[in-house]
């Protein structure tokens, strides 16, 4: 079908390129440079969907992102819900349909890339209209680093929708000249298709750049489709323009009813006429220009209806010259039509003489004045002021480092706008420390606006006929009418926020860009208050909708969160390990052999550790080098036991509590020298413990001579475990006497491992399994070689790598708790049965005072115990609750505690569990019950140590 409403010439479109697209199943064409809306209008299509509540036809109202109704669903090339047709750039192959309220998400994953980029500048200018361009150029000539962002596909702002001449040249030439100079100035970045959508503190502005959408199917897959610019500006100039405000009247929602300025934009920017015969309804001068321009372009403009008692002389005369009737003192009181407006009813304003009339037309252009776009200004914590002359909220007090220029201030004439741009640009450059700006010669426009003030008119007077539905729509997207507003105030509501919530006005896709001020006006009118007393509802980010994916950027999939890996990780991967996430770390969970399930693998790994030799990757344990004269006494404050008494060469286990006395971490402390310790932490708490130390050292005890340095990743740590571990170590450390006499339990030695070359190592005799064990520490660079050497030497002993699950089983057999598994921030060392690790001698340590509180001394605290299911084959679920009844009563059931760990033990030949149970230690020997599914399973309470209670095995 041919584009019947496209003029043969004019507009900023590329007529050489024909783009095919489909809307609501109908194939059409347009040109590069079109929006979907302009292409639809060129094809004579105004209607884009239906209203959400009443199903009435709705169409294109505006030409930009403020459009309240032209909601479309993109179907091809990839489904995207709810965009306004006015913001969709046309591309070949676009398939879209009109929406009736809800968008549709794709069911398949979005293949597009999204990214973000930081940019810093002295001056950020938002909006590349005349004021913004002058501001940017002024700042740039002053040597400032400038970023200009503009929502449109090209700079020019409001000039794109006019046929103004600046300095006797078409305005586009003036725009192009400035943009060229900006682009050629080092340190200046001009971003089109980029919407600043949020202003935050300290000059932080977020802007969304649409980089490939307009390329449609041709969008390169490796280019980020959208980019969030994270702009940090010393100064920000907001030249965000103004949105035209409609007037509310009966049946004001029919397709064919548009904002007058937008119609002018469609004419000049896209070479499109909005229809064949127009009526213009206005309360101010600006719509006259639209009438005249459209008439000049060949449209039949039947009438300008001006609600003001007197029409502006010059403009009215120019209308008359084009046979456009001007009827002042009148208003549109209603419209006729179905899918398209067919006629308008006009009537004199109250107190004005005149006659009611009906005028046929297919287009009704409306202007109720202009609202400065103050969204970003308000987000920047700028104060707003109601301007009763404009009927709009305008900037009323600039926050620090923010300037406003152009029609965003409420200025209506070109000369003021560009002057403000120059002033704001200069002030911003100076404030940012740039050199005083060179003078920018302000352009002079050929278009003069008459100075006749506009009339502030929220709605045309008159009420719907008795019993007839109200069709005076305030929020066209939410289908909320004047009656809805009045019902809200009638229900007792006084706050605009309440009215908004009662009526849902302003909560839709457009967030009330065209309806907000009108609603405030209607509420003030209804309550008999001044609008200046009303606080407008808060402008919140984003200014226009932003896709979730753009905000997520590249932090997706593998980059969603770093996976921390050890130096041995490649070996684990190559040997089929399954991994457990522990914090950000990837830890081998178990190493199944072909055909093994987890239970079989873990039983095998456990058996190797208890009967032969096994090794694991312990590199993720946190390691902190602690040095200084006061290191010992500092550790005495952090740990519950006395670390300063530890001898050089010795190792001690320690528990760490918060000030509330609850266990927060545990680990071993190695004394390397009088003034030097190496502290280990649990994997997940390494950063927390280092921070904890720094906090005390820096903020509480800065006089202490102690320095804490993280060396977690400097070391690879390999526990070598089992009765044959000594043999394996001997094969690798010929210089080390690893016998019990020479190298006792809880001691460490430095040695050199022979792995082809010599590798310095520190070996610690500690055991988290109860078996003879040596923890081998080498620099991470040597970790892999040492691990492989251990595997080679240990081969004849059946050396077996094991993962965290086996580690858990082995330690549980010995009753060793895992912080975060047996504990949950409500557990004290005493609860864990670790009073032996709590010093009675030390005057103080962190947490000690809390032990004296009433709650800590209750006899029925939960204590760590063992549980043996009476059925030795039954493995209790971890997290199961423990009760002291063999028949469950009606809830609530008294719970004694819960199962914290539960395993099948190769060494015990049965299942076993650890649990925290009220008065647990007193209950040893008792039979309690654990609800498992619908059963109550009997269990015997035991000590928490199940295996080798005498500790005989640790010496081999």
């Amino acid at each position: 079908m041919s584009a019947t409403f496209r003029l043969p010439t004019g507009g900023l479109i590329d007529r050489e390129t024909t783009l095919r697209f489909t809307f609501d199943g109908r194939p059409m064409t347009g040109h590069r440079g079109d929006t979907l809306a302009s292409a639809l209008l060129a094809n004579g299509v105004h209607g884009t969907g239906t209203g959400i509540r009443y199903g009435r036809p709705r169409g294109i109202v505006a030409a930009g992102s403020e459009d309240p109704t032209s909601l479309v669903q993109i179907e091809q090339p990839f489904p995207e819900p709810m965009l306004t047709a006015t913001t969709v750039e046309l591309y070949d192959g676009l398939v879209a349909r009109g929406l009736s309220g809800q968008g549709r998400l794709a069911s398949e994953p979005d293949p597009a890339r999204y990214d973000a980029k930081h940019v810093h500048c002295d001056v950020l200018v938002v909006g590349a209209g005349p004021a913004g361009l002058v501001a940017a150029l002024t700042a740039a000539r002053g040597g400032a680093r400038v970023v200009v962002v503009d929502e449109q596909t090209r700079a020019g702002g409001a000039l794109l929708g006019t046929r103004e001449y600046l300095d006797e040249r078409p305005s586009a030439e003036w725009v192009a000249g400035i943009v060229a100079e900006l682009r050629n100035t080092p340190g200046v970045l001009v971003l089109e298709r980029t919407t600043a959508f949020g202003v935050y503190q300290d000059g932080f502005v977020l802007a969304l750049q649409r980089r490939t959408d307009h390329l449609g199917f041709d969008a390169p897959a490796d280019t980020a489709r959208q980019r969030v610019w994270r702009i940090r500006a010393k100064q920000t100039v907001l030249a965000t323009g103004a949105h035209e405000r409609p007037v509310v009247f009966a049946d004001n929602d029919r397709p064919g009813i548009m904002l007058a300025g937008s119609a002018r934009t469609y004419l000049h920017r896209y070479g499109v006429l909005p229809g064949t015969r127009a009526v213009v309804f206005t309360t101010n001068d600006s719509a006259y220009t639209a009438a005249i321009d459209l008439a000049r372009a060949g449209m039949d403009v039947a009438m300008v209806v001006d609600a003001r008692p007197v029409a502006p002389g010059v403009l009215a005369a120019r209308c008359h010259a084009r046979d456009i009737e001007v009827r002042a003192g009148h208003a549109v009181t209603g419209t006729g039509g179905g899918d398209r407006v067919t006629d308008v009813r006009i009537a004199p304003m109250p107190g004005t003489d005149g006659t009611a009339d009906t005028v046929d037309c297919d287009t009704l252009l409306v202007s109720g004045g202009w609202n400065p776009v103050v969204h970003l200004f308000s987000q920047a914590r700028g104060r707003l002021r109601y301007d009763s002359g404009l009927g709009a909220f305008v900037p009323g007090g600039e926050p620090p480092a923010v300037g406003v220029a152009g029609s965003a201030t409420g200025a209506l004439d070109f000369a003021s706008c560009v002057r403000q741009g120059r002033d704001a640009g200069r002030a911003a450059a100076l404030a940012a420390g740039a050199a005083p700006a060179g003078e920018v010669v302000l352009p002079v426009s050929d278009t003069r606006t008459d100075a006749q003030p506009g009339l502030v008119l929220w709605r045309v007077p008159g009420e719907p006929a008795e019993g007839a539905p109200d069709t005076r729509f305030v929020d066209l997207q939410r289908d909320a009418t004047v009656s809805d507003v009045l019902r809200a105030t009638g229900a007792g509501l006084r706050s605009l926020e309440h009215v908004k919530r009662y009526t849902t006005i302003g909560t839709a896709h457009d967030q009330g860009k065209t309806s907000g001020t009108i609603t405030a006006g209607l509420v003030a009118e209804a309550l008999g208050t001044e609008l200046s007393e009303q606080r407008p509802t808060t402008f919140r980010p984003p200014y226009t909708p932003v896709s979730f994916a753009a905000l997520a950027g590249r932090d997706r999939g593998g980059l969603h969160d770093p996976a921390r890996v050890t130096a041995l990780h490649p070996w684990h991967v190559a040997h089929g390990a399954l991994f457990e996430d522990v914090g950000q770390w990837k830890r081998p969970w178990y190493f199944p052999l072909p055909g093994e399930d987890m239970d079989a693998a873990v039983l095998r790994e456990c058996r190797a550790a208890r009967e032969g030799v096994a090794l694991m990757d312990g590199s993720t344990l946190g390691k902190i080098d602690l040095r200084g004269r006061d290191a010992g006494s500092f550790l005495d404050m952090l740990y519950t036991n006395k670390m300063s008494a530890l001898k050089v060469g010795g190792i001690r286990y320690g528990v760490m509590c918060g000030v509330d006395g609850m266990v927060i971490d545990d680990g071993t402390v190695i004394r390397l020298a009088e003034d030097r310790f190496l502290v280990t932490t649990t994997t997940g708490n390494a950063a927390m413990v280092l921070d904890w130390m720094e906090e005390w050292l820096q903020t509480e005890w800065p006089h202490l001579d102690v320095y804490a340095t993280s060396v977690t990743e400097h070391w690879a740590t390999i526990p070598l475990v089992g009765p044959r571990s000594r043999d394996v170590l001997a094969g690798l450390a010929p210089g080390l006497d690893a016998g019990n006499e020479a190298f006792g339990f809880m001691e460490w030695r430095d040695t050199v491992l022979d792995v082809g070359a010599g590798v310095p190592a520190r070996v610690c005799r500690i055991s988290f399994s109860g078996e003879l064990a040596y923890e081998i520490n080498v620099t991470a660079w040597h970790g892999l070689a040492v691990w492989e050497a251990l595997m080679a030497v240990g081969e004849r002993y059946g050396i077996t790598p094991y993962g965290t699950e086996t580690m858990h089983v082995l330690r549980a057999e010995k009753g060793y708790p895992i912080i975060g598994q047996e504990t949950d921030a409500t557990v004290t060392p005493q609860d864990l049965g670790m009073s032996w690790a709590v010093s009675k001698k030390k005057a103080d340590f962190i947490g000690k005072r809390s032990f004296a509180r009433a709650e800590n001394n209750r006899p029925d605290r939960k204590q760590l115990v063992g549980l043996l299911p009476v059925d030795p084959d039954l493995r209790l679920p971890e997290g199961a609750q423990v009760v002291d009844t063999d028949r469950l009563p009606q809830p609530p059931v008294r719970m004694l505690g819960h199962v914290t760990s539960s395993y099948r033990s190769a060494a015990l030949g049965r299942t076993f569990a650890l649990a925290v149970v009220r008065s647990g230690r007193e209950r040893v020997g008792e039979t309690l019950h654990v609800p498992v599914g619908d059963d109550l399973v009997p269990v015997t309470v035991t000590e928490s140590v199940f295996y080798d209670k005498e500790g005989a095995r640790r010496d081999g």
Binding site: D691, Q698, T699, K848, R849
Partner: protein, 99 residues
């Protein structure tokens, strides 16, 4: 996202910092001499004003130094920052500054 002026590194993005709550809450000289109520005050109770608040931050992703700051909790604006050991600012005067 706001900038926090590290007294050593200068203004950096908030994400580089760790918040430490109220500043100048000293660890008691002798906790064992305190009543349960007094100890609870130290452990759990902190000022929570709407307005200028002397608080602690750590430049955890930067120089790892703790420092003190006065921030207006109504606006989140940092009013001043102080290295550890520098004198405690008078919040009363600051209140007028921000009004």
């Amino acid at each position: 996202m706001q900038l926090i002026p590290c007294p050593w590194c200068g203004p950096r993005e908030e994400t580089e910092f760790h918040y430490g709550g109220q500043a100048h809450v000293a660890y008691p000289e002798d906790p064992s001499a305190l009543t349960d109520q007094e100890w609870a005050q130290y452990v759990f109770f902190r000022d929570n004003p709407s307005g200028p608040f002397a608080e602690r931050w750590s430049h955890s992703a930067g120089c790892r130094r703790w420092f003190n700051a006065v921030r207006d909790t109504r606006t989140h604006d940092l009013l001043s920052v102080h290295r550890i050991g520098e004198p405690v600012p008078d919040l009363g005067e600051k209140d007028e500054v921000v009004s």
